[in-house]
């Protein structure tokens, strides 16, 4: 059953940046976009098991720190080789100063 989990405070993430969030044995990436919105994806690149939290956010793209593959973190779409498989995304809501993600 889907559950909303508090991931972080809104000011934990700079704009155009991301942080890692671990919960119940899974790892997630939480993004703060340049237009002030928050998004969440799986925390590991779909190409290799590399944490995206060390990558670079450029606009609405996250670049993997190992092989420079890119995803659109709003949709999870793979945008640049070597990534071919889309990234899983998760619903996000902001309640006051807190960011929540919905996990299954």
């Amino acid at each position: 059953m889907p559950t909303w989990i508090r991931a972080c405070a809104t000011d934990d993430i700079d704009e155009e940046d991301l942080i890692r969030f671990d919960h119940a044995g899974a790892t997630y990436a939480i993004y703060h976009s340049p237009d002030g919105k928050f998004f969440a994806t799986a925390g590991l690149c779909t190409h290799e098991n590399v944490h995206l939290c060390d990558g670079l956010v450029m606009g609405h793209l996250i670049e993997c720190p190992k092989h420079n593959g890119q995803f659109d973190y709003r949709t999870g779409e793979a945008k640049r080789a070597p990534v071919c498989v889309n990234l899983r995304t998760f619903p996000v809501k902001v309640d006051g100063d807190d960011v929540y993600i919905e996990v299954a």
Binding site: D17, D54, E63, P65, R80, A81
Partner: protein, 361 residues
């Protein structure tokens, strides 16, 4: 250790997967997020400047070479053109393949395709082989880009300075790729969705070389080949010289780039040709940092790295005896001391690889 099998479909590769050496989590120096974000920032300006300079010089040198042809007075201009064609193309292929040279993606893609052609690499295949090189750097049986296998084949290494082994490998492979797509080994690291692209790229390369050869025959002169193709031979020496230093004589089957990669201080001309890849430990540890920011990255993390070699000559003086020793003792490698400020090598992670090296260094 048993004799190494560098085939990507052989037992060493399978063992690396079983033991967790493949696709492992590598050691990274701690860098504050704010500093790393600043270092990773992309910019078009440095690469546009360098690309205009590179291609401008190539046009200039080739034009003078053609004007003076067939006089020997043209030779220095061909040598200069050749280094830019046959060596600078290696670093442009590399940096644009990573997508870090330019901020604008299409600029990376255009220079990547041109450089791939000049360095005689299939642009579709090598993008994936290089991804594997970063996943499994010098993991035997996994890394498709191990330049110096053990025991070192010195004749082949020396011939590489004039590009001969690379061209000998390239010609049948590009024809095979053009006819039937990637080889069996290439299919281990190129996703199936890209196999058609491998074939199309090979067809374009074959068509350009066929047209150049046809023009040379029609003119009754090798001049067209002096411009396209042959510079990959007579200008290869610089990229081989710098490339061998990247990992030569160092460890394999480890997951700490401080053990298997080498940083060498170089003169400004070599750094222009090589696009700062002399900061090779830094590049492998943080491949998202563009070439123009590598000197700053070096300053930020050098406290955690072995001391760099102070020149190309010093790098070879360190590497060459180690390679010679590997002829007799295949497991030998250089294990460089870390400064007191560095975190130690993780002996527990590397016991199998490090435990067999001789005491004398």
């Amino acid at each position: 250790m048993a004799k190494r099998d560098y085939s990507l479909i052989g037992p060493d590769g399978a063992r690396a997967v079983e033991t967790g050496l493949a696709a492992a989590e590598w050691y990274h120096t701690d860098v504050p997020r704010k500093v790393m974000k600043e270092l990773m920032q992309r910019s078009d300006a440095p690469a546009i400047r360098d690309t205009i300079l590179l291609y401008g010089l190539m046009v200039l040198f080739a034009a003078i070479g053609i004007a003076l042809w067939p006089s020997w007075w043209s030779a220095p201009f061909w040598l200069a053109y050749g280094v830019l064609y046959g060596s600078a193309s290696d670093s442009r292929w590399h940096e644009c393949g990573h997508g870090t040279a330019f901020k604008t993606p299409w600029m990376n893609d255009v220079v990547y395709q041109i450089a791939s052609f000049m360095i005689m690499r299939n642009a579709a295949t090598w993008r994936w082989s290089h991804a594997r090189h970063h996943t499994d750097t010098y993991i035997v049986g996994r890394d498709a880009e191990i330049a110096i296998m053990r025991p070192p084949a010195f004749a082949k290494l020396i011939l590489a300075f004039v590009g001969i082994p690379d061209v000998i490998a390239f010609v049948p492979r590009v024809i095979q790729n053009a006819v039937s797509g990637p080889t069996a080994e290439e299919r281990t690291f190129v996703p199936q969705s890209e196999w058609g692209k491998v074939q199309r790229v090979a067809l374009v390369h074959v068509a350009i070389y066929a047209a150049t050869i046809a023009l040379a025959i029609w003119m009754g002169s090798i001049l067209p080949l002096m411009v396209i193709g042959l510079p990959r031979l007579y200008g290869a020496w610089h990229h081989v010289m710098t490339g061998l230093l990247q990992h030569g004589g160092l460890a394999d089957n480890v997951i700490d780039h401080r053990l298997n990669s080498r940083t060498v201080y170089m003169n400004p001309i070599s750094r222009f040709i090589y696009w700062n890849m002399n900061y090779h430990v830094e590049h492998h540890m943080f491949p998202m940092v563009p070439y123009h920011a590598l000197p700053r990255l070096h300053e930020a993390i050098k406290h955690d790295l072995p001391a760099p070699n102070r020149s190309i000559a010093e790098g070879f003086a360190e590497m060459w005896p180690a390679l010679r020793r590997q002829l007799a003792y295949e497991d030998y490698f250089l294990r460089r001391d870390l400064p007191p400020t560095a975190k130690p090598y993780r002996e527990d992670f590397h016991r199998d690889a490090l435990g067999t090296q001789p005491a004398v260094e």
